[in-house]
């Protein structure tokens, strides 16, 4: 189990555009669509999808965190598994973040640690 001490809190009330790529057992991308990340933590997120998702399926999420980040490639990729349907009527899903490289983790933590609009002076 990962160490969850000192991890930034989950951010809610988000509307982060993400590209959703469904991945089959062989690791091949089968479909691609857009979604909104509504809640995001270090290990899980809530996704509003363009299409219905299947619990247990693997998806790749590509997202660019807002805010000025002078980087050559701002896209962060999150390997996720659809854990369960949160709200069937609204196509909202709970996803577990299974894997990400160090750069992705660093950017995720950086984004989650940013003061929200309400917190800014």
């Amino acid at each position: 189990m990962s160490d969850t001490t000192n991890l930034p809190a989950t951010r809610r009330g988000l509307e982060l555009l993400a590209t959703i790529k469904a991945v089959d057992g062989a690791g091949t991308i089968t479909t691609k669509c857009f979604g909104n990340i509504l809640e995001l933590g270090c290990e899980s997120l809530v996704l509003e999808s363009h299409r219905e998702q299947v619990a247990g399926s693997a998806v790749l999420l590509s997202v660019v965190f807002p805010g000025r980040q002078p980087r050559s490639n701002p896209v962060v990729t999150l390997n996720c598994v659809v854990r369960r349907v949160r709200d069937r009527a609204r196509l909202h899903y709970d996803l577990a973040i299974e894997d990400m490289n160090d750069t992705a983790r660093e950017r995720l933590v950086e984004f989650l640690s940013q003061p929200t609009r309400e917190q800014k002076p």
Partner: protein, 385 residues
Amino acid sequence: MTETTTANALLPEVVGIDLGTTNSVCAVAGRVASLADDGSPTLPSVVAFLPNGHTMIGRSARRRRAIDFENTIWSSKRIIGRRFQDATTATFRERYRFSLVEGESGEPLFVTRAGKLSPTEIAAHVIGEISSRVEACSEQSRVHVTVPALFATAQREATVEAVRMAGFGDVHLVPESTAVAYAYRALDMDLGNAMVYDLGGGTFDCAILDCRQQEPELISHASDLYLGGDDIDQSLAAWVTRYVLEKHNWDLTNYSEIADRLIARCEEAKIELSRADDATIELSQIDPECPAASEGVTVSRGVLDRLSENLVRRTFVTCDEALARAELRAADIDTVILAGGTTMLPNVQASVSAYFGQDGRLDVDPTHVVALGASLASGGPGPQD
């Protein structure tokens, strides 16, 4: 208790509905109703059809514009009651990327994954959502739904049909400008000859009313069907597109879904600029593949003022028209009342003050005033009357 009081107590309360091009608002007996979980009185007039067969209406539907624009319908009021072959519908098809086909009766139909739907059916979804969220709404409610003064018979009938499809039987139409006058009369204000300057999301309406009588009397009106906050959003989107093209050599208009996301973000920036000096549009939330996706484009209020200058000026051409029809001058207007969300922009308010030689009244929130007044109006005739 007198017999009259008993009878009044049994009467259902009057429900006023401002079925707007961009947003809808509801008021019951002079009180604005909450239409969202967070208490917001504004319901975006947006309907989304989901792959699982569900329908989503309002703010959550508007959010889906970014990810599923083909199945998310908005601004449909522009073509309610129109025919597919009408010039207005042709303009709508040029401006919006919806898939529209001609129905058997010549009406325009939106093609969605839920089937082909008329603008009337889309409006019925919005009104149905209002009905489900407002406790005081029932099938017995007397509903006053507002319409622009220029709506022709077919448009008025289509609006009434939408309200009936949503389950209401007792439907009355109230001109939007008249509703505004009712809301201000409730404040015991002596309005005299009043000009209602109504700049909404999709259209601009101005109306001159004689409010010295018991009932406000419409003297003259004029409208611009394609002038509203949406046009400012489009101008801002064009400015951002040019900026990104010049600075990063990247075209944000290559894909319609990206262009639509840009317009949605520009609308948010415009609203922010009504109370802040600048606003940032995050490119990452528009086109993640843009080389400048990690940057934002900051827009100042000065830029927005410059971009909207001509559009605001156009409203006064329409005002000139209404004044000429009434054989009045701007100086003859006793009270100018502002309605519609776009009048929250400081440059709009300043321009109104300069044109009329007096500040526009904002005693009632301009986004609620139409619905509020509709719920207080004595009620116009039904379409069959």
